[in-house]
Amino acid sequence: MSRFVPRFLRWSSCCALLLFGGSMLGFNSTPLARAAERGAQCAECHAEAVASFNSSFHSHAWQGENDCQSCHGSTDQHLNNQSKSTIISFSKDGGRTAEELTHQCLGCHAKSANLTMWDMGEHKKNDVACVACHHIHRPRSTVKQPEVCFGCHRDVRSDVNKMSHHPIIEGKVKCSDCHNTHGTLTPHMINAENNNQLCYKCHADKRGPFVWEHPPVEEDCLICHTPHGSRHETLLVEKVVNLCQDCHDTSEDFSHAARAYDAKAGFGGSETRPHFRARACLECHHAIHGSTNFNDAQFRR
């Protein structure tokens, strides 16, 4: 508790400084009422939608410079025919393509720094409109991760619930920590030039340079690990011995690496050597990500 209280106080102070300091210094006020007036006609039928928009992030950011028609298009036809087809409706049954809906958003946001690579991304290619993830009429348009992502990425939802996983469901790692959902030039829209550079952002201890390198580690972390979750320890793609033997099953490693380890090789079995117990290979070859011990060709120390 003694550690918790100062931390909480520090953060409370920061918040108070920004909020109180801001209000004391004064902020520009532009008449939101202008938009409200223009939205009044819409509110006759869509009172709830107009009210929610007026409390939204967009409404405050625009400060009355835009109104319903900025996103939903001209209402001229819609006033005579209340069909969704006479307006740009963002609802599921609105009849508009993802490209049309995204076009509305890009009218303002095409110049946003984080949308620079939108045209290169997988989401554009796969018809994911902005509103598939963002709720424009809410106070916050921030995407609720990972729930929104799991709506389409069912395989990832399965993975992150497995025994071994990154702390994604615990809220400590967000999808957007690793992926730029707005587009990149990289495969899988990752936030780095390649997988290793992405992993090193949190695992800088694996960055090296090492005196003794393990080639697959240097080439691609995903040769041995899977990023979202695994039924095997430490996010490995296979059980340790099987994974190691997919490379080290050769005559030069024949002494113990290539042996077939069966049910007798566990703690209770008749085998006496410890190669298949507990963490198996990693019990001895612990520095498997690389070593700077000058005398450690086998990553043992």
Binding site: R7, F8, W11, C14, C15, L18, S23, L25, G26, F27, N28, S55, H60, A113, T116, M117, D119, P139, R140, S158, M163, E170, G171, L185, E193, Y200, A204, D205, R207, P209, E213, P215, D220, R231, N242, D246, C247, T250, S251, E252, A258, D262, A263, A265, G266, F267, S270, E271, F276, R277, A278, R279, L282, E283, N293, F294, D296, A297, R300, R301
Partner: protein, 669 residues
């Protein structure tokens, strides 16, 4: 230096909004709303399982959350605070004025728990000097494998309603406490914790231009990893007293990005390039060793020196009204110029020459085409070529090419949503990998391989109240010329989910998933005759999970929520006939493995939410979790196998059964 800059950025993050808005005019109304939650929970879990609390602090505690949004004219401020426990907290403050400036300031803390109540035959746990104690486990040192992570930082972006912007940010990642390690001799080892005390400091400065047609930016970044523990001394094994821990390093990078829109035929051109340098120095004296520990040592200082170069270019176009295209090229180069450490009398001995320093170059080019057919159907096709040239430093400073692989892959896809209530997708991909390293011995990932993948996907809403989704994937990889190691890898995944808004007051949701992985490998039994002495190993892993949830609004004020989730992992390893291969030093016959990372996990959740009014509500909840794990590697676990091999209990008993009750008051304002 980075620390000073970091402090400056944090102060700037705090001060800048105030400075900017000071230039604004009159005061205005402040609109504040948000949610505050305060709760208390009680937890009953008897096994003291670290897995139960792997990334979350679940103990009897008071906890709370605050979400606040404040708007003052065009200025906004968001605060999020989540306090789940003493070492499980996060805070974030975001704010800004659209088109003018924005900032983020965050703190996040968690504890990664590996195993509680472990024991080790060493004293001095947590220090870099371990002292061995007798073989009797009752006298061993008790400790928890756990690492505390703290991340904090901030960034600010200023554009002042101009097309130019500048973004500066810094963050710090701190890790402390104990992570699993083993002190290893030749054929023996003793599990013990590695003392963890390290920091990673990151700083970036970005400047850019955002125009109607052109966006460009230049980013410089620095990252420094500092480990307070360079080595771990055990004094246990005659020649292996020193275990060397991860080295410090410094990484800097310069990145340039450009996107050019509104080009002819609706084209967009994007470019990205970066150069980076990673370096460190490791002296023998830093890691507790001296030249006297070696014979014929060529140098007493290792200089780590790696350069990374990346470039990517892509052009998207619409050459025909119904045709979209994308062509791209990506180049990656890793150039490892680090010192080669060598010792020993035989310069060709791989155990005394650290010359396996890897460099590689990768060229990746491809084209994607999308054509819009009638009836809301899209046809896609693409081709990708990827070539990777690897090299090592065999022979000292000389760069020696090693393996080269070339991948050719093609795909086709059809997607249709003629019916507004259904989207269907089918995709086929084929990859052919050609390696210049054929046969044995060759690691599986650069063997020749032939890969086929089918994907089917459906999302449909047959009636307004029902949403259904189904994904199916089949993937088969044949390692065409492999003699030993992996031969075939077959994966089948099915995922299904459903939502049924049964009535105005009740919603039912459910999901199910099944994954099946079958891997065949050859394990050789006679090094002198690998082809005729191989035996087959079949690894069969099944995983399935399902979940159901119901949400019922019993009255205007009372809502019930009930959920159930189950997952099961079932792995088996079986061996083929060993025939006459009896000379490989293990007992026959081979016994199949029935428990290979087997586990079940059950979760039951129930809660009742009572809303006194639109602002105030109370939630009373209960959560039950049970996890059971069985694996051949941990069956009949014991700490002492013989006088030189000791286990600490790491991952040995992750099972748990937990009951959690909680009460939360939530107030919206």
């Amino acid at each position: 230096m980075i620390k000073k800059l970091y402090s400056a950025v944090i102060l700037l993050s705090l001060a800048a909004p105030a400075m900017v808005v000071a230039a604004e005019k009159a005061a205005s109304d402040v609109e504040v709303h948000g949610i505050a939650e305060l709760g208390a929970r009680t937890v009953n879990e008897h096994n003291d399982s670290a897995l139960f609390q792997e990334f979350r602090e679940l103990e009897d505690a008071v906890f709370g959350q605050v979400q606040l949004d404040a708007f003052m004219g065009a200025y906004h401020l968001q605060l999020d605070a989540d306090i789940q426990g003493v070492d499980d907290q996060s805070y974030q403050i975001k704010g800004g004025d659209y088109g003018n400036f924005k900032y983020t300031f965050n703190y996040d803390e968690m504890r990664h728990n590996y195993t509680f109540d472990a024991i080790t035959p060493f004293t001095g746990v947590g220090s870099k000097h371990l002292v061995a104690t007798p073989d009797d486990p009752t006298t061993w040192t008790k400790f928890d494998y756990e690492v505390e992570h703290q991340n904090y930082g901030g960034e600010i972006e200023l554009s002042l309603h101009s097309p130019f912007y500048i973004n500066i940010g810094a963050d710090k990642q701190k890790q402390n406490d104990l992570r699993p390690y083993s002190i290893s001799g030749f054929f023996d080892f003793k599990e013990t914790p590695e003392p963890i005390s390290n920091n990673t400091d990151n700083l970036h400065l970005k400047g850019g231009y955002l125009g109607e047609s052109l966006s460009a930016s230049l980013t410089g970044s620095l990252s420094s990893f500092n480990n307070d523990n360079r080595y771990l001394y055990s004094g246990l094994f005659t020649n292996d007293n020193i275990a060397v821990l991860p080295p410090d390093n410094d990484y800097n990078k310069l990145t340039a990005d450009l996107a050019w829109r509104h080009l002819p035929i609706n084209s967009v051109l994007a470019l990205s390039g970066s150069v980076a340098h990673l370096k460190n120095d490791v002296k023998l004296s830093n890691i507790g060793l001296s030249a006297a520990d070696f014979t014929n040592l060529n140098r007493t200082k290792f200089t780590g020196d790696i350069d990374y170069t990346n470039a990517a270019i892509a052009l998207t176009s619409q050459p025909l009204a119904k045709l979209d295209s994308k062509i791209y090229y990506r180049y990656t180069d890793k150039d490892n110029s680090s010192s080669v450490i060598a010792f020993g009398s035989d310069p060709a001995d791989p155990s005394t020459n650290a010359d396996l320093l890897m460099s590689y170059q990768q060229d990746d080019a491809g084209i994607d085409l999308t054509y819009r057919l009638p009836y809301k159907t899209k046809a896609e096709a693409g081709y990708e070529y990827l070539k990777k040239d690897r090299s090592s430093r065999a022979g000292g400073d000389e760069v020696v090419p090693t393996e080269t692989t070339k991948d050719d892959s093609v795909y086709v896809q059809l997607k249709n949503n003629t019916l507004d209530w259904m989207t269907a997708k089918v995709r086929y991909k084929h990859l052919e990998r050609n390696s210049d390293e054929l046969g044995a011995p060759t690691p599986f990932y650069y063997q020749d391989q032939s890969q086929d993948q089918w994907k089917l996907g459906f999302d449909f809403s047959p009636v307004e109240s029902v949403d259904l989704g189904l994904d199916f994937t089949y993937k088969n990889i044949d390692y065409d010329h492999s003699i030993d190691t992996r031969q075939n890898d077959k994966r089948r995944d099915v995922y299904f989910d459903a939502t049924w808004r049964a009535t105005k007051i009740a919603t039912l949701t459910g999901f199910a998933g099944f994954e099946k992985v079958d891997t065949d490998a050859n394990r050789i039994t006679d090094s002198a005759d690998p082809i005729n002495s191989s035996l087959t190993q079949a690894i069969n892993d099944d995983f399935w999970a399902y979940g159901l949830a119901a949400n019922v609004a019993a009255t205007d004020k009372l809502t019930f929520n009930l959920s159930w989730q189950y997952q099961e992992s079932d792995g088996e390893v079986s061996f083929g006939d060993v025939g006459n291969n009896v000379n490989f030093g293990i007992g026959l016959p081979l016994e199949d493995i029935k428990n290979s990372d087997d586990y079940t996990k059950k979760q039951l959740g129930a809660k009742a939410i009572y809303a006194f009014d639109p602002k105030l509500k109370i939630t009373l909840g209960y959560l039950y979790e049970k996890f059971e794990y069985k694996d051949i590697n941990y069956q009949n676990y014991t700490n002492v196998v013989d006088s030189s091999t000791y286990y600490s209990g790491l991952y040995a008993n992750p099972n748990y059964e937990a009951n959690i009750g909680y009460l939360v008051a939530s107030y919206g304002f």
